[in-house]
Amino acid sequence: MPAKKPRSLFRLTATITRAQFVGISICVFALLLAAWWIATANEWVRPLFLPSPPKVLARLGELAASGQLWQDASISIWRITVGFLISTAFALPIGVLIGCYKSWEAIVEPVVDFIRYMPVVAFVPLTILWTGTGDTQKYLIIWIGTFFQQVLLIMDNVKGVPWDFINLGRTLQMPERRILSRIVVPSAMPGIWDSLRISLGWAWTWLVVAELVAATSGMGYRITTAQRFFQTDLIIGYILLLGCFGLATDQAMKALGRRMFRYMAGR
């Protein structure tokens, strides 16, 4: 008789198949949706507080048909793209620099660490004062929210490069800058990519924060105006949509990372 295979899905270190993983994940989503549906269908909560899934979907369909949805989404997507790229463009060189050189770390790291703990939301009134309520203010909030986190994450990625990689470069008599570009950066790249992916998730939050307070367009703005008219179906629809956008960008970056860093194990 063959040995009995341990079948429990909930055993420490137990591995499950990809199909099982996806199946479980979908089940959880379905369960949450069902709970929402049942709660609203039986009117356990007032429709004004929590509209039913069909109602939310209908509202989204309406907005999509009128072109409003696409207009709101495209503006927000544009803002997060620009804001995130500006932030990354600053964070990459500075993060690599302070990860490599202790003196630069001493100059930059304590200040960044300090600013990092300042509440981004509190900067909103100031940024409006500085730059008005246009797109620049949105970029600025996204930048404040993501740049300081990115720098520290990238610094850690660079510090994770094995010292012997650098020593090897030295024994090959490579100049410092060449060690940096040919060894340190490629070695840190998979980690940096992950850091960017994580910080992009945060950037979505800061985008909506900026749009909620002072904007005349975008998804956050639409949510604020909906609040005035008690359009909770729109608010929930947009929140779910923002979640989908976040998930989609995350998955896209993950897939791209798998392609770019195919040489790494377990990616």
Binding site: P162, F165, L168, T171, S187, M189, Y263, A265
Partner: protein, 263 residues
């Protein structure tokens, strides 16, 4: 003139009351095409000594001469094999070797040929296009050895290169390195804490004292070459093995006594 001459070398880490003297008055000479192993208890400073010879670490006193020229930083005349796997994961085995060759100034077909030849030398010609994650620990170190040999340094510095490998793979690697060395002859400074490994491969074994490290004793390994693994069972091998072990053991006992005296 010896290939490598170390005279009165000293090295202290840190300053003040927390300073640690790693090496004090180290004298060692390695002849041309000689295979010398450096053994000692852990923390005795043998890796520090190798780092200084490699030019990766500075020293406070004394001199390190390669062919009579003082060592001033790392150089292509000294190839280093590290204990940790230092293959770049984003390059294949062949590309890893070619990386070193290109940095050493070799170009085009010459570099491609040299990379292929050296991978063949370590028996990995069938794995040239494999990425490091697809290679076992022993294979990775073979690529690292191929890489260090490929640009033809005057000497090879090896810092416990087989330390992370399992016993069986270690034996294979020792035989492989011995075969390569016996055929191609070059000067090797080999750091290890495995006495059998040191005796099996070396012309001479230098035993280091406890910290601060200095050369305590040098034992000539007068076993005939080419060497095969059967040699390990021979009485002369056992005798030499014992001599080296006793020498190190005296140091470990000293450490133990020091420990109990402090307790």
């Amino acid at each position: 003139m010896p290939k490598l001459a170390i005279t009165n070398l000293s090295k202290t880490f840190g300053a003040g009351p927390r300073a640690v003297t790693a090496l004090q008055g180290v004298d060692l000479a390695i002849g041309d095409n000689e295979f010398l192993s450096l053994v000692g208890t852990s923390g005795c400073g043998k890796s520090t000594l190798l780092s200084i010879v490699a030019g990766l670490e500075s020293h406070d006193e004394g001199e390190v001469l390669v062919d009579g020229v003082p060592v001033d930083g790392p150089g292509l005349d000294r190839g280093v094999v590290f204990q940790s796997y230092t293959l770049f994961p984003w390059l294949t085995a062949r590309q890893n070797v070619e990386f070193a060759l290109k940095e050493a100034g070799m170009r085009g077909k010459e570099a491609v040929d040299a990379a292929r030849d050296h991978l063949k030398l370590v028996g990995l010609d069938g794995f040239a296009d494999s990425y490091p994650r697809e290679l076992s620990g022993g294979m990775k170190q073979r690529v690292a050895i191929a890489r260090a040999l490929s640009y033809r340094p005057k000497m090879l510095l090896m810092d416990e290169p087989f330390g992370a490998l399992d016993a069986l793979t270690r034996h294979h690697m020792q035989e492989l390195l011995t075969r390569i060395w016996e055929q191609h002859r070059l000067t090797v400074l080999f750091i290890t804490h495995d006495v059998e490994e040191a005796v099996y491969m070396s012309d001479r074994v230098a035993v280091m004292s406890n910290r601060p490290g200095r050369i305590k004793e040098i034992i000539d390994i007068d076993l005939e070459r080419p060497r095969h693994y059967d040699l390990v069972a021979s009485p002369r091998f056992q005798q030499l093995h014992r001599a080296v072990l006793d020498s190190i053991r005296a140091e470990s006992i000293e450490v133990a006594q020091l420990g109990s005296a402090l307790a």
